[in-house]
C-alpha cells in the first residue's frame, strides 16, 4: 500500500517547513522510520522519517522549497504500484495551500468534515499548537506535554473521517514524551499507531538534532562575502520572529516602565559568594533572574497570559530567558523558577543557553513561559525596550550595570546602577500594576538578602 509523505509538524508551533535536503533519491528503497529528508522548522532542523516501507517513488518538492504542514511532499510505494491517484491528490492540495497561516488554522478546524484532499491529522496538530501551549500550566506540572491534549490524541480524526487508531500504550508514551500523536503514521493493523511508531517518531526528532550542527557549518562557509551586498534568504526562524513580533507590536498596546536600581549589594553578594569558593560562583544575571522570579511570584497579575477573551494569571513562575544565537533569538524556559535555588537557576540558565546556541533545545524547553527576561547588559546597552512574547503580558529588558555618581545620605558616591525597562501589555497590565511589580523587584535587587527570606 502506498504511503504518503506529509510535511509533518516537527515542532509544536511549526506551520510550514522548508525541505533543506532530500536524503533519499527517487527509486531508493526505504524502511519505516528511516530519515527521508531534512526539514527546517521554525526552530531547528529535524528529520522527516518514512512512515511506511517501500520505494521512494516520487519527491514532490525541491530542496529549499517550503510547504505548509500537512502537505504531501512525496510518495512511498512498492516498485510497480500505481500512484497516479496520490499524485493527482497532491497536485490538488498544492493549489489549495495558499491561504495565510492565521486564517488557515481556523478554516481547517471549521471544515472538519469537509473533503479536503489533505488529511486532517497534521493540521489538527497545527491547530492545537496555535492555541497557547501554556493552556494547562496553571493546573498541571510544567507543560512537557503541552502540544497534545489527551482528548485530542485518543480520537484524532483522520483524512477519511475515521478515527486514527492507537494503542493505549502508544497514547500514554506519546503523552509522556509530549509528542503529538496526530502527526504519527501507524504501522499496526488498520493503521493503528503502536509503541514502535511513537518510538520511531521520537527517535526521528532526536536524530534531527544531531545533524543540525553539520548543516550549519556548511551554510556558514557559503556566507563568505563575495560582493558589496549579500542576499540572505529568510530562514524559518527569521520568518517566525518577524511574524510573531509584528503580531506583538501591532495589536499589543505596549507601554514601557523604566527604573534604575542600585546594584551594589548584588555585586557585594556575588563577590562574597565567590570568596567562599569557585563552586559558589554565580553571575549577576543569575541573581537578577532569581529576583525577577521571586517578584513575579508576588505579582501573578504580571505573570499572566492574555488569551483574547480572558487574562490567565499564573501562580507558577516559568521564566523565559531570551538567548541570542547565530540563527536568531530563542527563549528557553526555567520552569518553576521561583521555587529554585540560586545555584539551580545558575546551572539551568547556563545549560539552556548552551543548548540554545547548539540548537539542541527540545520544544518543551522553549514553550510554556509565563514571563520573559531579555538581558543585553553584556553588550554594553544602557537601557532598551524588549518586545513582548505573546501571550505573555510583560517582558523585562535589562541593561548594563554602570558606575554612576549618586547621592546617598547627602553625599556623592559612586554606585553600581542598573537600568531595567519593563514592557507591559496594557490590555492586561496597567501602569500602576507594572510599577508595583518593579517596586517589589527593586526591593529584592537592592536588598538581595530578601531572596533568602
Amino acid at each position: 500500500m502506498a504511503t504518503k509523505i506529509f510535511m509533518e509538524a516537527l515542532s509544536p508551533t511549526m506551520e510550514e517547513g522548508r525541505l533543506v535536503k532530500w536524503l533519499k533519491n527517487e527509486g531508493d528503497a526505504v524502511k519505516s522510520g528511516e530519515p527521508l529528508a531534512e526539514v527546517e522548522t521554525d526552530k531547528a532542523i529535524m528529520e522527516l522519517v518514512a512512515r511506511g516501507d517501500g520505494v521512494l517513488r516520487k519527491r514532490l518538492i525541491n530542496e529549499g522549497d517550503s510547504r505548509p504542514v500537512g502537505q504531501i511532499v512525496g510518495v512511498i510505494a512498492t516498485k510497480d504500484e500505481n500512484i497516479d491517484a496520490i499524485l493527482k491528490e497532491a497536485g490538488g492540495a498544492e493549489a489549495e495551500a495558499a491561504p495565510p497561516a492565521a486564517e488557515k488554522a481556523t478554516a481547517q478546524t471549521k471544515e472538519q468534515a469537509g473533503a479536503s484532499p489533505v488529511p486532517r491529522a497534521p493540521q489538527q496538530a497545527q491547530a492545537a499548537a496555535s492555541t497557547p501551549p501554556q493552556e494547562k500550566t496553571a493546573a498541571e506540572p510544567p507543560p512537557a506535554r503541552a502540544p497534545s491534549t489527551p482528548s485530542a490524541s485518543s480520537a484524532v480524526p483522520s483524512g477519511n473521517g475515521e478515527r486514527t487508531k492507537s494503542s493505549p500504550l502508544a497514547r500514554r508514551i506519546a503523552n509522556e514524551r509530549g509528542l503529538d500523536i496526530s502527526g504519527v503514521q501507524g504501522s499496526g493493523p488498520g493503521g493503528r499507531i503502536i509503541k514502535r511508531d511513537i518510538e520511531a517518531a521520537a527517535a526521528g526528532g532526536a536524530r534531527g538534532d544531531q545533524t543540525t550542527s553539520d548543516v550549519r557549518r556548511q551554510t556558514s562557509d557559503v556566507r563568505r562575502p563575495s560582493s558589496d551586498f549579500e542576499d540572505i534568504a529568510l530562514t524559518q526562524i527569521r520568518k517566525t520572529i518577524a511574524r510573531r513580533l509584528s503580531e506583538s507590536i501591532g495589536p499589543i498596546p505596549t507601554f514601557y516602565l523604566t527604573a534604575e536600581f542600585d546594584l551594589s549589594r548584588v555585586v557585594e553578594m556575588r563577590e562574597a559568594m565567590l570568596e567562599l569558593g569557585e563552586e559558589f560562583k554565580v553571575s549577576i544575571n543569575d541573581i537578577l533572574l532569581k529576583a525577577v522570579a521571586a517578584a513575579l511570584a508576588q505579582h501573578p497579575e504580571v505573570n499572566a497570559h492574555w488569551l483574547g477573551d480572558k487574562i490567565r494569571t499564573h501562580y507558577r513562575v516559568h521564566l523565559g530567558m531570551a538567548v541570542a544565537t547565530d540563527d536568531g533569538l530563542i527563549v528557553p524556559v526555567i520552569f518553576d523558577a521561583d521555587g529554585k535555588r540560586l545555584s539551580e537557576i545558575s546551572r539551568e540558565a547556563r545549560e539552556l543557553a548552551k543548548l540554545a546556541r547548539d540548537r539542541k533545545l527540545k520544544p518543551e524547553q522553549y514553550t510554556g513561559s509565563t514571563f520573559s527576561v531579555s538581558n543585553l547588559g553584556m553588550m554594553q546597552i544602557d537601557q532598551f525596550t524588549a518586545i513582548i512574547n505573546p501571550p505573555e503580558v510583560g517582558i523585562l529588558a535589562i541593561g548594563t550595570a554602570t558606575d554612576q555618581a549618586v547621592v546617598v545620605d547627602a553625599e556623592l558616591q559612586t554606585r553600581k546602577r542598573l537600568r531595567v525597562t519593563m514592557s507591559c501589555d496594557h490590555r492586561a497590565v496597567d501602569g500602576a500594576v507594572g510599577a508595583r511589580f518593579l517596586m517589589t523587584l527593586r526591593r529584592l535587587i537592592e536588598n538581595p538578602l530578601m531572596l533568602v527570606y
Binding site: S167, P168, L169, A170, R171, R172, S187, G188, I194, K195
Partner: protein, 326 residues
C-alpha cells in the same frame, strides 16, 4: 535434586501428609487394591491400611458426599476422581455441599477436603472424556482450584491443598503423570494463589495454567531462538487468581496471550483478559489474544483432535500477532 515423575510427586505429597496428620485419608475408585487408576496411590494401602485408603463403588456422587460429611466432622478427606470427567457426577456435592457449607452454617462447619483427579484431554479419549473443567469449577465461590503443571508444583500444591481448611479442587493431567521434573527431598509447600514466572522475557506475556504451562515454556524456548523473549506466567492456581503477577508481567511487556486448555466462552482466559484490561489498560500496545480449545466437542479422529487442541504453533501465531510481527 532428584528428578521424579508428576505421578510420584503426587504420591509423595499424599504419603507425607498422611504421615503427618492421621485425619487425612484417601478415598475413590481403584485407589487401594489396584493402587490407583494412574498409580498415584501406589503403596499407600500397604503403608496406611484400608481404614485410610478406601476403595469405593462406581458412585461419584455418593463417595464425594461421604467425603463432605467426614470433613464436616473433623477428618481431612482426599477424594480421588478417576478423572474429572466422572467427577461431574459429584458436582452437586462439590457445589451444593462442599463449597457452601461453611457459609450456610454460619461458620460452624468448615469443609477441609481435597477433590482431585486428572483433567482435560489426553489422546483420543473423544468428546465425553476430554473436558478441561477449570472454568466450570473456578466459577464457584467457596472453593479453591489449583492446576499444577509440573511435578514440583504438583507436590507443593497438593500438600498445601490437604492442609487448607477449605475445599480445594486439584486438577491434574493424564498426560502430565509421566512428565518428569526436579523435586527437592526436603519438605516444601507452594502457597495457593501464587503464580510463578516460569520463563522471563520482556517482549510478550503468556498467561497460562495447568498442562498448558508446558506448552507455554516450549513456545518461549522456541521463540527465544528468534530473539523473542517471553514472560511465562503460570497461574498454578486459578481460584484465587494471582492478579498481581499478571499485572506485573503485562506492565513490563505491554502485550499478552492467554493460553488455556478449555473452551473459549467464559473460559479462564476470558477472566484473565478482564483483569488485564482493568489493571493494565494504559500499558497495552495490542489487544490481548487468546488460545484455547476449538468450540466443538473434542473430536475422536486424531487429525481433528490435533486441530481442536490449543498447541505451540497456535500460541506462537498468537504471540506474533500481538507483537505485530505478521
Amino acid at each position: 535434586m532428584p528428578v521424579i515423575t508428576y505421578r510420584d510427586a503426587l504420591n509423595q505429597a499424599l504419603r507425607e501428609e498422611m504421615q503427618r496428620d492421621d485425619r487425612v485419608f484417601l478415598m475413590g475408585e481403584e485407589v487401594a487394591v489396584y493402587q490407583g487408576a494412574y498409580k498415584v496411590s501406589k503403596g499407600l494401602l500397604q503403608e496406611f491400611g484400608e481404614m485410610r485408603v478406601v476403595d469405593t463403588p462406581i458412585t461419584e456422587l455418593g463417595f464425594a458426599g461421604v467425603g463432605v460429611g467426614a470433613a464436616m466432622v473433623g477428618l481431612r478427606p482426599v477424594i480421588e476422581f478417576m478423572t474429572w470427567n466422572f467427577g461431574v457426577l459429584a458436582l452437586d456435592q462439590v457445589l451444593n455441599s462442599a463449597s457452601k457449607m461453611l457459609y450456610m452454617s454460619g461458620g460452624q462447619y468448615p469443609v477441609p477436603m481435597v477433590f482431585r483427579g486428572p483433567n482435560g484431554a489426553a489422546l483420543q479419549l473423544s468428546a465425553q472424556h476430554s473436558h478441561a473443567f477449570e472454568s466450570w469449577l473456578a466459577h464457584m465461590p467457596g472453593v479453591k482450584v489449583v492446576t499444577p503443571g509440573t511435578p514440583y508444583d504438583a507436590k507443593g500444591l497438593l500438600k498445601s491443598a490437604i492442609r487448607d481448611d477449605n475445599p480445594v479442587l486439584v486438577l491434574e493431567g493424564e498426560m502430565l503423570y509421566n512428565t518428569k521434573g526436579e523435586v527437592p527431598d526436603d519438605e516444601y509447600l507452594i502457597p495457593i494463589g501464587k503464580a510463578e514466572l516460569k520463563r522471563e522475557g520482556d517482549h510478550c506475556t503468556i498467561v497460562t495454567n495447568g498442562k498448558m504451562a508446558l506448552v507455554a515454556m516450549q513456545v518461549a524456548d522456541q521463540l527465544a531462538k528468534q530473539d523473542i523473549r517471553i514472560d511465562v506466567v503460570d497461574l498454578r492456581t486459578v481460584r484465587p487468581m494471582d492478579i498481581e503477577a499478571i499485572k506485573t508481567s503485562v506492565q513490563k511487556t505491554n502485550r499478552a496471550v492467554v493460553l488455556e486448555e478449555g473452551w473459549e466462552l467464559a473460559g479462564i482466559g476470558a477472566q484473565v483478559v478482564d483483569y488485564i484490561q482493568r489493571e493494565c489498560f494504559d500499558d497495552l500496545d495490542a489487544p490481548v489474544a487468546r488460545v484455547h480449545q476449538a468450540d466443538v466437542p473434542m473430536p475422536y479422529a486424531k487429525n481433528l483432535e490435533r486441530l481442536a487442541k490449543p498447541d505451540a504453533a497456535k500460541t506462537i501465531a498468537a504471540v506474533k500477532k500481538v507483537m505485530y510481527l505478521e
